[in-house]
Structures are given as C-alpha cells and as structure tokens.
Subunit: 269 residues, 2 copies
C-alpha cells in the first residue's frame, strides 16, 4: 500500500479527535499549543512557508475527487498524518473549513518571550478588532517589518478571525503576544514611535531610515499613556481638518509604507 | 408645555412605526429613502455635520436620566420629532442602538447620478467587505478625497456595518453607488489610476499632484479588467517579495496618503 493512500478515517460525530478539533477551532491557539488553520489558502501558505502540518484534515468525499487545489494539498501532505472526515463532519468543526474541505492542525513553537527584539517592529497595544490585527500583520509582512508584539487585551493573534484576515502573514512574522507594558519596554531595542492625535509631529517630517518600533493603540483610546510617555517619537498622519481619525489599520499602513518609501529612496540614491 | 418635553412614546412591540424601524435597520438605505443610524457617535456626527434628523429615537428610561451624551443629543433634537421607546424595545430594532440608547432616522438626498465627477475621487469596484468599505470612506475623508463611487456588487454603503466602520465619514462625502462600469467611465473626469499586482509602475514613481480617480478592486479578484484597461495609470504599492498583497483598505490608505504627502510637499515648496 503506497503512502499516498494512507490516512485515518473519522465517521462518528462523537469521535474524541473530532471533539478536540472543535475545541481548537473555538479557542485561539497559543505558543506551545496546537493551532487550527482553516481553508485552502491558509493551508497552502503554511505548506509553502513553514512545511508539513502536525495533522492535515480533509472532508469526504475523498480529496482525490475534489478540486485541483484540494488534490494538490492532499498529495503535498502524503508524509504527514492525514485524516478524512465523513461528509458533513468538517462542518461541525467550522463553517469556513467545512465549505473549503480542508484544515490543518499545526504546532506553534514556544515563543522565546525573554529575548530582545532588535530592529524594526510593531507593537499593537490593545488593538481589539481581529480584522484590524489581521490587516496590520499583512501590512507588516508586505512592508518588511518582521516582528510584532501584542499587549494583553489585543485580539488573540492565533484566533481564526485574525488568521483569516492576515491571509498567511503569520508564517513570515515573529509574533509575541500577551505582553504587558513593562515587557514591551524591556524587550524593544529601537526607539518607540507612537501615533497620536495630540502634540505629535508630522509623519512626513520624520527620518524613518533607522530602525523604528512603531506603536499603534486601542481603536477608541489610542496608545496607553505609559507607552506614549516612553516614546522617543510621537507622530500624527497629517489629515484634513475636522475629521476624527483614521482606522488603526489604515494608519499603520500609512506609517509603515512611508518608512518603506524613505528606505527605497535611500537605497536608490 | 415646553418643546423640550414634547415627544411621542411607543410602548408596544407591534407598533407599526417600530416595525418600520426594524425594516430600516435590516435593510441598507438608498438615496431617496430613509436610513437608520445607530448609536451615540454616528448621531453626534450627523448633528454636527448635517443637522437635525427626520426623527430621533431614544430608549426609555427618559434620556434626561441617561448619560451626558444622551442628554445632549436629546436636547439638541428638541426641534426634531422625537420618539421614546419603552424599555427593551430599541433592542428589538438593533443590538447596537439598543445598548447605546439612541438612533436617528435620516432622509438621504436623492443622488444626482447623471452629474459628472470632477477632481479627485475614489472608485470602489465590487469591494465586498463592509469593514473595508467603511475604512476606505474614513480614509477618503481624512485624506481630503470627497467623492466616492461604488460599483454594483460593492457592500451597500448606507448599511449599518459600513456606517459603523466609517464613523461618520459618510456625512462629509459625496457618495454614488450601484454604478456599472460604463456609468463610472462616463462620469469620472480625472485620469483613472488602478492598483494592480501585474505590470504596474511603483506608486512612489508617480506625480500625484494633479487630480486622480483612484480605482480599488474586489478583495480576491482585484479591479475589473474593463476598468483596468481604461486606466491611464496602473500602479502597485512596492512591497517586499514573496508576500501576496495588501488588504484593499490598507492599499487605499497608502495610495491616498502618498497623494496627500506629495501635495503637502508641493504646497510647502
């Protein structure tokens, strides 16, 4: 029997493995614990950037009869433990994965929380909306900022909503979550730049060619006063008068790509 | 009896006005029809930027006994028709408005769809996520781009989700929705700049000081090929290799604020 057709089959709703998958899909993963990835795109990204999952879960009928994307994922996981769930069972884990026919269980490496964070990074201070956190992770990966620290009170970075919004950016970033203010300040080496509406300097007046630790804050309250006080730089995005503020993910995109613009210009000079 | 205490009271779940409010809250408003605004912030913004609503709806107990914000809204609407719903009834209209104790019914002016769109504008081509559409409206208002056109298939711009995400930006923008490609091309006067991953030029190599009609496309499929073909300018946001793309709202923020940066620099020169 070739390895290409080796897999486990789950047929019962009461199967303990299926129950554990449901728990993983409900709860956000944490460093050191398994994380549930849903759907074709995230599984493709994981394979491409990290490697084989701890387990690959497919929905019956057999993936060999499914779409080209599912067949490719099935074959790519031939050397990983594969599980096929009988029709309808993946829907009991998650609507998203059920509709797409695939999900991965992955093991997060335990984060080395004590290590310093050198160079560029982003600090998310109690950013609560999973869509905002996911969008900012995607922007970080696109702008070449490879380290993101999240304080307690931010959306759980390995939750399904953040994973879907970030579209695989997680796998090219170093992520540290659950930090308090002191832990952030103890680890970050680059000068802190906090965005604020009060008393800041224009983003466009800053030299952003040296490493920066960007700090973006809570959707309503902004950056924590303690972090703001520790910031070497307070900046605002110059907007037209009478408008309240940008969405935090939009503000992050403007800041990180202004940094990228300046560095591209310096590299070309 | 002073006008300050004149209002209607609704006590029955079967009240026809209450039923009509529920319909308004479920369905997105359209130009020429009433729109339901939920919660303290949107109502404050509407009052500040537009004026009195067609009707102001409050939850019992009396707003005079509520928060300072609710009391201020109650008094500011003394010259508008005010309705007080008995305890719990506003929750049957919407969770959001129910929790915050206030909502407005407003009348949208019928849009002059046939008119030309001169100067800067943004075209949203089938941008589907309400959070993305709302964030882009907010970015437009912040960047000083006051006209937004939406093609059929975009999220309904006057829906509750888009209104909440835009935080009042609607009230400082000219909004035209439900357009097809030909209607967009017939109205827009400025050269069209479409964002694309294939064959575009770097955003940072463009002179963006003259009017631009920015075109941002569907989250998965990008800009419609017909609009792309009509674009005078195809641009990409220069990102690091091996990363798929930015979230559309993040890409819009980068483009519109690069335009703003160039114009501020020119004005200061």
């Amino acid at each position: 029997m070739s390895s290409d057709i080796e897999f486990k089959r789950v047929a019962s709703r009461q199967n303990p493995f299926l129950k554990s998958l449901r728990s993983r899909a409900r709860e956000a993963g944490r460093a050191g614990a398994p994380v549930w990835l849903e759907g074709v795109h995230l599984c493709q990204e994981y394979l491409a950037r990290v490697g084989l999952p701890a387990q690959a879960i497919f929905a019956a009928p057999m993936p060999e009869q499914g779409s080209a994307e599912l067949r490719a994922l099935w074959r790519a996981c031939a050397q990983a433990p594969r599980v096929v769930l009988e029709a309808g069972l993946l829907d009991t884990v998650s609507d998203v994965a059920g509709a797409q026919g695939v999900g991965f269980l992955i093991e997060l490496p335990a984060a080395a929380h004590g290590d310093a964070v050198d160079g560029d990074c982003v600090v998310l201070d109690r950013v609560q909306d999973p869509g905002n956190v996911g969008s900012i992770l995607r922007t970080c990966a696109a702008a070449g900022v490879a380290q993101v620290l999240l304080t307690e009170g931010s959306a759980a970075v390995w939750s399904g909503k953040v994973l879907r919004a970030a579209q695989g950016a997680h796998f090219s970033l170093r992520l540290l979550e659950g930090l308090d203010r002191e832990a952030v300040l103890a680890r970050v080496r680059a000068p802190l730049a906090a965005t604020t509406l009060d008393g800041g300097a224009s983003l466009y007046a800053q030299d952003l060619t040296a490493p920066v630790a960007w700090c973006f804050g809570h959707e309503g309250q902004g950056v924590d006063p303690g972090l703001l006080a520790a910031a070497a730089l307070r900046v605002f995005v110059p907007q037209v008068a009478a408008v309240e503020s940008l969405n935090v993910a939009a503000a992050a995109a403007v800041c990180l790509f202004e940094q990228r613009r300046q560095r591209l210009a310096r590299a070309a000079a």
